[in-house]
């Protein structure tokens, strides 16, 4: 039996001659075995390419996520940090709170007065109409 180095040293003409020699017996099932091996190798290569294609977006998304996290740290984090108390003294803070309550109450009262005035108008119109009629 020839060794690999012997086969490598054979010229193309000699190889062609050996291949076309019908007297040399080919082992049974060799063709099927070679075909199956080639097909399996092709299938493995195809699966590898598909897998690469399936995760092709991963580096882009990773890069984008990194940018998004940096943007969040730069833009959102400062807005989430706790502000500094305006007052050191609870009594002063309470005075400001009272002032705020009074401000809100004044503004609310304006709304209430407007609502009351609006509810009085139809009553006045009805009353005037009744007085004019009778």
């Amino acid at each position: 039996m020839k060794e690999l180095k012997d086969i490598e040293n054979i010229s193309f003409e000699e190889l062609e001659r050996i291949a076309s020699d019908g007297s040399i017996r080919v082992p049974e099932g060799l063709q099927a075995s070679v075909k199956a091996t080639i097909e399996a190798a092709a299938a493995a290569e195809d699966a590898k390419r598909k897998a690469q294609r399936r995760f092709a977006w991963l580096p882009y998304v990773s890069a984008f996520a990194a940018v998004a996290v940096c943007a969040a740290i730069v833009f959102i984090a400062p807005e989430r940090t706790a502000p500094k108390d305006t007052f050191d003294d609870p009594a002063a803070a309470y005075a400001e709170l009272e002032k705020t309550f009074n401000y809100i109450a004044q503004k609310m009262d304006k709304g209430i007065q407007m609502a009351e005035a609006a509810s009085q108008e139809p009553l006045e119109i009805m009353s005037n109409t009744i007085n004019r009629t009778y």
């Binding site: 977006w57 882009y60 998304v61 984008f64 996520a65 998004a68 943007a71 969040a72 833009f75 959102i76 400062p78 807005e79 989430r80 940090t81 706790a82 502000p83 500094k84 108390d85 305006t86 007052f87 609870p90 009594a91 803070a93 309470y94 400001e96 709170l97 705020t100 309550f101 401000y103 809100i104 109450a105 004044q106 503004k107 609310m108 009262d109 304006k110 709304g111 209430i112 407007m114 609502a115």
Partner: protein
């Protein structure tokens, strides 16, 4: 590429929604020119809750001390800067529209608009927002906490009686 755009949009939407509350608005505008700002922290509210003066009940039955202790933050932004006013107004309105706020009151008179909103449940108010738009001025007031809705309504009623 579509996936990247969708993810980007989702992140930006989440970020913008996340940014909208009293604290973020306060942090954004409190240092601007023509703006006066007041912030009272949860720790300060706890200290205020220990003040002897507020232990007395206000009026007939309203316990101001309990009410103050239920607050965890107060943010006030008052702007007289025209450029800030429009931006602050849109930020405040975005906060209201993004959150689950319910309008309690709106009054418009002589160029002044007052709006009051609350968010929370039937029993608890977790955020109270008061917006006042006046010519050349805009005021944003936000209270955070776990306020008893009945107590707040009682306080509002008592305040009305006093005026």
């Amino acid at each position: 590429m579509k996936k990247i755009i969708i993810i980007a949009a989702a992140i930006l939407m989440t970020a913008s929604a996340f940014a909208q509350d009293g604290k973020s608005i306060y942090n954004k505008y409190s240092d601007e020119a023509g703006v006066s700002a007041v912030y009272i922290s949860p720790a300060m509210f706890r200290l205020m809750g220990r003040l002897p003066d507020i232990e007395v009940t206000d009026g007939e039955s309203f316990n101001l001390g309990a009410f103050v202790r239920s607050l965890t933050g107060m943010y006030i932004i008052n702007s007289e800067n025209k450029d800030i006013n429009s931006s602050l107004k849109s930020e405040a309105e975005r906060m209201i529209s993004k959150g689950k706020y319910e309008m309690l009151m709106e009054a418009k008179d002589d160029g002044e608009t007052v709006r009051m909103y609350t968010s929370g449940t039937d029993k608890i108010i977790d955020s109270f927002v008061f917006l006042v738009k006046e010519p050349g001025e805009y005021t944003f007031i936000c209270f955070d906490g776990k306020m008893d809705r009945a107590e707040v309504e009682k306080a509002v009623g008592e305040t009305m009686k006093k005026l």
